[in-house]
Amino acid sequence: MTIFSSQLFMSAIIFGTVILYGALGEILAEKSGNLNLGVPGIMYLGAIAGLAGAFFYEMSTPDPNGFLCLVISLVCSFAASCLGGLLYSFLTITLRVNQNVTGLTLTIFGGGIANFFGGALNTLAGGVGQISVASTSAVYRASLPFANDLGSFGKVIFGHGFLVYVALVLAVCMAWFLNRTRTGLNLRAVGENPATADAAGINVTRYKYVATCLGAGISGLGGLYYTMDYVKGTWASDGTIESLGWLAVALVIFATWKPINVIWGAYLFGYLRWLYNYIEGLGRSSQEIFKMIPYIVTIVVLILVSIRKKRENQPPASLGLSYFREER
């Protein structure tokens, strides 16, 4: 039990992956100028939809096909999260409702609906805490067969379910998309200065909708990963997803809106989150202080970024503002 134990690194990566998805989706939305504070709610939606899809499929057949388990839960999760993003988009982009209010409402809404259906699924499954989608969860948790033979280091790197690696690929792709493609450039312009983007012939509304909905879909995968891997295909209405969602929002700020920074930031947050278990002699209260570290680090980063005033590290300039063409 040391602070360099491979077990700690394993936990850090698993924890980090949940918020990595949440933060990547949020970056995509925020780059379009939409400050979606509904990430926790969207992760809830992704979690419960994926779980429900897998549950009903596993109920319907005595011998669930692993691939179908995977596809059904993935599609359900992504679609439900996108719908959450669509609701947010419709309210903030088309109706121009205040983004903060909409986001917070979406968080409450997502949590409520997920816990309602979580309870309902548990009842269907036979009682509190009875729901389990073992076959689907097994697919998500399957690691490379040789991972266990690679020693503790190899296990830390290769011993995870496929969503861990998808998240990494996604982060790299998103960095490339934002910085190297025409569409990415246009998206950044929309988030920075929608009036300029509009004058340049970019369809601001479409960019905002697509970025926010896809971003929500990606964030929702964090919820799916949480239910399938982190809690191994069960449902617990203990509010963990919500706290993870907020951590994802904090991570976006910590990473100064850069997907590559999100990767190491997510794992660092995961490491700090579990560190208290690996330090001898911590009392209950000191443990709680340790759990605060990711938030404290985020505040420190915010302070440093605002002191340094480097323009590249600032949030998109029109983040949180609705765009209305006639208001010139």
């Binding site: 025409r182 450039l185 312009a189 920075e192 200065n193 012939g201 323009r311």
Partner: protein, 515 residues
């Protein structure tokens, strides 16, 4: 032959509510010429050109490009026709580089190749003599560099017709000279260039032809070599129109403000006001004339305590006791100026931005002036409500109720609320900036009469206006600002429109800040 023109406008009309911005304008732009579009503030120059660049859509009339009738619905349509406009407020994304800004929104085939784009930008720069670094971020650039990026952006998209909206307003003389050199290079390359301006010496220097607009209507065009600043001024201001505004002789003029050597710098470090000296008297209306951006805003804001003043003094005489209780306003905050008993009422240019809170009703807006009165914790809503009802009745404000958010009222009614509130504060000095901008004729007259009534009661009224006819009929004295300097203070009853117009556009060094 129709195709000898690059662009032809036929009978183009555009209205905004009750205001006619352009009235049946016919204008031709030739190939390979620099055309100056000249006119006073609010004469519809920018609106007209915005219809070419796709920002506005004309209500009537037709636009021909290269002899073919076209419809321009968006900036993109304009680009496709080879028309590019460089606005006064640059449309650039700060955190992106020059290259990224230039290729923004383009639907070129293939992958985004910023290096190739940068090469093309350098070619364009070399061809016309621009100096801009394609890799540089916009936020690191000077105003002149940003303007260059805007021009290159338009050229990169293959524009043959460039419209520049007051391009020299933000430039130093050296930068202006450089811009003009580039424009001449572009002209030599066969491009048509339209410059929107009201600086006569620039018109004479750069353009081949001058087209003049006055109050939205097309006055005519003239070859630059056949004209001189005097003739152009006459075309621009036109003949005096009689408005029949009631103007009683001032009685019992008492000095209220004494402004001496006032100098203020704007955010770019340029002198917005330069050694401004004048007096304001109770019982008269002092008009302030000048081309927009010549220091009117800074002048009023200095007196109201909203500007940082470099040098100079503003003395205020609250009582008629021969200067016993005079106060120095420079260095006092707006609140301190108010607390010291200085009665300044300020109707700012931006009514809903600085004057009123749009989402609050009339009552609450009245309270913004009085919330410090009464008991320390609780606000008094009864008096403001009474005042709101009174203003609504006396000034005939059209509103569903005194609690309807003022944002929902029309521009004229918003202005009435604001002026009504300021007058209700019983000021000794009442300052208004563009008080009738965007208002219809009847409301404008209501405002003129209100100001005159204040004058009769002995208030010192400062009226910053755009319309010279109004200034000439409403004001007792007219102070003309030119590039932040006082370019003469004229008697409103004897001066002529031509005189004021010429002083607005030509700084007369000899007279300088003469009283």
């Amino acid at each position: 032959m129709a195709t000898e023109y690059a662009v032809e406008l036929r009978g183009v009309t555009k209205t905004f509510g009750p205001v006619v911005a352009n009235d049946r304008v016919d204008l031709q732009i030739h190939r390979g010429e620099i055309l100056s579009l000249l006119g006073e503030n609010g004469s519809g120059k920018t609106t007209l050109m915005n219809m070419l660049s796709g920002i506005y859509y004309p209500d009537a009339g037709e636009i021909l490009v290269n002899g073919k009738a076209v419809t321009i619905h968006s900036p993109k349509d304009a680009f496709d026709l080879g028309i590019g406009m460089i606005h006064q407020h640059f449309k650039l994304v700060d955190v992106l580089t020059a290259t990224e800004n230039i290729v923004l929104g383009l639907k070129e085939p293939g992958r985004l190749d910023l290096k190739a784009a940068a090469r093309r930008i350098r070619e364009i720069c070399d061809k016309y003599g621009f100096a801009v670094d394609p890799e540089k971020k916009i936020y690191d650039m000077s105003v002149s560099e940003k303007q260059t990026v805007e021009i290159v952006k338009v050229l990169y998209r293959g524009a043959n017709i460039l419209i520049l909206d007051e391009p020299t307003a933000v430039l130093t003389p050296q930068e202006t000279a450089r811009l003009f050199a580039v424009l001449r290079n572009m002209k030599a390359d066969g491009k048509s260039i339209v410059i929107i301006t009201h600086k006569l010496h620039e018109v004479m220097e750069i353009s081949d032809r001058v087209a003049v607009l006055r109050k939205g209507a097309y006055v005519g065009d003239v070859a630059t070599c056949d004209t001189d600043p005097q003739k152009l001024t006459d075309m621009m201001v036109g003949h005096a129109v009689t408005l029949n505004i009631d103007r009683p002789e001032p009685k019992e003029r008492t000095k209220r403000l004494e402004v001496r050597g006032l100098t203020v710098r704007n955010q770019y470090g340029v002198k917005a006001l330069d050694d401004v000296t004048f007096d304001v008297y109770g019982g008269e209306i002092l008009g302030i004339a000048g081309i927009s951006g010549c220091g009117q805003k800074e002048l009023l804001e200095s007196i109201a305590g909203l500007q940082r003043i470099e040098t100079g003094s503003i003395r205020y005489f609250p009582a008629d006791d021969g200067g016993q209780t005079e106060k120095e306003l420079v260095g006092m905050s707006p609140l301190a100026i108010k607390k010291a008993g200085v009665a300044l009422s300020f109707v700012p240019e931006d009514r809903l931005g600085m004057g009123l809170v749009g989402s609050m009703g009339m009552t609450d807006n009245m309270m913004l002036r009085s919330y410090r009165k009464g008991l320390p914790i609780f606000t008094n809503r009864r008096d403001p409500k009474k005042l709101a009802e009174q203003v609504r009745e006396q000034l005939e404000v059209v509103t569903p109720g005194v609690n309807t958010p003022v944002r929902r009222l029309s521009g004229g009614n918003v202005q009435k609320v604001l002026v009504g509130r300021e007058i209700a504060a019983a000021p000794k000095v009442l300052m208004t900036a563009y008080a009738v901008r965007g208002l219809d004729i009847n409301t404008s007259y209501t405002i003129y009469n209100l100001l005159t009534a204040q004058k009769i009661e002995g208030v010192a009224v400062v009226y910053v206006g755009e319309d010279l006819d109004v200034l000439l009929e409403l004001c007792d004295r007219i102070l003309v600002l030119c590039s932040g300097k006082v370019n003469g203070i004229l008697d409103g009853r004897t001066t002529t429109k031509e005189e004021v117009g010429l002083r607005m556009t030509n700084l007369q060094e000899k007279e300088g800040a003469a009283q």
